[in-house]
Subunit: 211 residues, 2 copies
């Protein structure tokens, strides 16, 4: 459950899963050796994410892999997830810590050194840093899009908590993100939209392990 | 704090507030005698609603008026609101009860008798029933839009908890909703978009009290 060991991290995206449902994609990624899973499915309703989340909890628990929930602290509690991942527009990290307790994993998105050090001071357990490369799969403001590996390095140098790169990452460029100082990489479509999510996960693991 | 006493209920809508901020509209409505306030501001981020909600909590607490939060149980806890209002696509009422406790107010949206009786069985303290008249201010599916006062009556007859009519209601038609059996009426733009939200609230109160 320790984010310092996360090399590969799947963020779910039902709208980017080639018609497959999120639990089946997650099952494949778990078979491929994914280290952590975030329930995002941003287009789904809270009720739908609640039902999806219950299935992901069963799958991840059986695999011994941590599950965090994007944005919603209440949903994380409802499905007994291991924690939450909060963007800069979501509830503050302090609220999540207060409601989920010391043992919960609280991740925070950061695209600048200032956001990163603020999140670390607020008690974040890890950072999602990006968008490293240009991405179209999230609503990322221009100034936060394509921050590149130099910014990843600057942030990794500035904080003591694990940095997970996100945004436009796949097996072809994941190595450069880890070389820059990231502990691991988070992907959506590189796994969810792959012909074979299990093989895509294994390939990503191999690239990141080789660094 | 008892929903059986709610005659007028304001649902906030920052995008329908003629450029005024939600706390100033709520302050006016409190001066006009509003009985309950729901923080909705659907277009705002969770972080924005958190900051707005802290201000609404101060205002409503000073006025002795209950404050509920639309959709988000975590936000309700974070601002120490009195409860939540859940739509059919939000987390289930049982989750809210589990996380907020027995003393919290849990409201549920219902547009049919079946939804209403299910919500009552799930422990809802009141129902938001609508859209009574045609509304454009929410994303309401056609089959739930313009259910009219006959459906309000059917639902009010079927449950023992208070029914708050919502959707296209203003001072000109609020009386018919209460005549049909609703305890009170909920409005967004009839107050938030009014030239004088305090006067609009007082006018609505008077209409509903006259029934």
């Amino acid at each position: 459950m320790d984010p310092t060991t996360w090399r590969t991290y799947l963020v779910t995206g039902a709208a980017h899963s080639a018609g497959r449902d999120t639990p089946s994609v997650v099952a494949d990624a778990l078979d491929g050796g994914i280290d952590a899973v975030q329930l995002r499915d941003k287009e789904a309703t809270a009720r739908q994410r609640y039902h999806t989340g219950q299935r992901l909890r069963e799958l991840t628990e059986a695999a011994g892999v941590p599950l965090v929930v994007n944005d919603r602290i209440d949903l994380a509690r409802a499905i007994d997830a291991d924690g939450v991942h909060l963007g800069q527009s979501d509830l503050p990290a302090e609220v999540a810590r207060d409601q989920l307790g010391q043992s919960a994993i609280v991740g925070v998105s950061a695209s600048t050194v200032a956001e990163a050090t603020t999140a670390e001071a607020a008690g974040a357990d890890y950072l999602g840093v990006g968008a490293v490369f240009g991405t179209t799969s999230k609503d990322v403001p221009d100034e936060e899009n394509g921050i590149d590996t130099e910014r990843v390095k600057a942030i990794a140098d500035a904080v003591d908590i694990p940095v997970i790169g996100i945004g436009g990452i796949d097996a072809t460029n994941a190595g450069s993100v880890v070389e820059a100082g990231a502990t691991g990489v988070a992907v959506i479509s590189a796994i969810t939209a792959a012909d074979d999510p299990q093989a895509a996960t294994a390939a990503l693991r191999e690239v990141v392990s080789d660094v």
